[in-house]
Symmetry: C2
Subunit: 303 residues, 2 copies
Amino acid sequence: MIGALDIGGTKIALGLVSPDGRILGRGAVPTDPLAGFDAAMRRTVDLYQRLCAEAGARPEGLGIGCTGPIDPVSGVFGRVDTLPGWEGSNLKAALCLATGLDSRIENDADAHALGELVWGAGRDALRLIMITVGTGIGGGIILNGQVYRGLGGSHPELGHHTLEASGPLCVCGGRGCWEILAAGPHWESWFQHTYPECADWDGQRICAAADSGDPRARAAVEREGFYLGVGLANLINLYAPDAIVLGGGVMERFDLFIGRIQSEIQVRCSYIPYGQVRLERARLGVDAGLLGAAEVWKRRDCA
Amino acid sequence: MIGALDIGGTKIALGLVSPDGRILGRGAVPTDPLAGFDAAMRRTVDLYQRLCAEAGARPEGLGIGCTGPIDPVSGVFGRVDTLPGWEGSNLKAALCLATGLDSRIENDADAHALGELVWGAGRDALRLIMITVGTGIGGGIILNGQVYRGLGGSHPELGHHTLEASGPLCVCGGRGCWEILAAGPHWESWFQHTYPECADWDGQRICAAADSGDPRARAAVEREGFYLGVGLANLINLYAPDAIVLGGGVMERFDLFIGRIQSEIQVRCSYIPYGQVRLERARLGVDAGLLGAAEVWKRRDCA
């Protein structure tokens, strides 16, 4: 049995996962980052003790997908925008002290990608990219079954590559990043500014209105599909992957965007056999984090 | 001894290369693509016979870097814009028939990257990207010492990723590609249109004028450095490579552009340890093609 931990800015999910991918027990606690790292660890360890008691067993180790940057080897947090004040804390050491368990850590986007690779929509893809479009845009890359890492073990920042060189300023300091153009809140905010009479509409309401043929909502879907398509076309030109799996809140309405996404890919990727790239919606939903984290532990002996 | 062939749209270079990277004999013939594939092969084979006679020896095999798309396994040309009418011709079969030699083929950008990896500026880089900025923008990616290939063996199209989603129309069918914004001829053409009084200035003259402080030429250098920087920043966000090596005609004036390139990377790559990415000018010049092609042969047993 493997302990699987999915640490995000809002909640920390914990699961006990069998090696063949069944979730035998699960729970979640709020991250509440402002209350500090130590308090979040206490909540997590309490949940761990409860799940172990219910299962009548202890896991052999912990696999972790964690919002980053975090050093996967040492377990020390870097500057994480969504976890203010946690910089310098050691996740690996804290969990080992409290549970006696060894752990392996990956960026949460990479863990999600591993989950979809092994159990979900990315099965058997030699080159897989998993993109999550929600509050931000994040991604994980798997090449030949291994998480791709950049220099110094760094995690590529797919959401912060530029689509509009002189576009709007992003929180990362760049301009016209994919995330600032197409992540959920930025899309909603564009809509609310463009149509002030709809200043209280959220993404779900925009999508529902688009279903009913509202021209403003249709224009918003057009814009979102365009920028999603341009970003995905860039990934196809740069990686020529076998599969791209799309998850996150905005992709709940995959059906609404996929046509525009595909037409943009068709226009921009003529030198790549883009028709062979599988473009699929993520299949594991909330389980991707836990199953992916379990996979992180299972791969503990890989480079 | 290895036969090394570098096939571009303008000329075909042939060299005889020792396994330790010395070029023992060399020559070149015009590609003259409109005269047809067969005629180009005849010129190449004539040159091959002459070089072998001069050396008093025959190579063990042929390594080839070829402008593409070309299928590296079958040796059959796809639709190559710079080699009109060559589609469907079989390079590997033609050379084997005429010389009796087996051959291995890579895209020329990948061969150049291999040359710089083994003998030039990319030495020892675990993740190396070689970018050539000339008539177009092309690139090769080496991960863990192997040429990176996409699905179906396809070559990533780094020059055709989008920097300006609604930018100028590119020959590939996309808009605002890196190439259409920053390749040599497009840069010159932007300059000539912006400053009609300089309608006959080429890139070299623009650079010389920038050296003398001409404000129009300085603006052109600023613009070129900006778009080179945005494209390179995207590669850093997406690959976090150990090294990027820059070659091609425009990069002869690396010194003029590197400051602006670096400032753009600094602004756009804050989540990547960009300061550790080696950004260097290619060192092998015209030899990169031949040394890289020889390397293609030496790696013939790799996947």
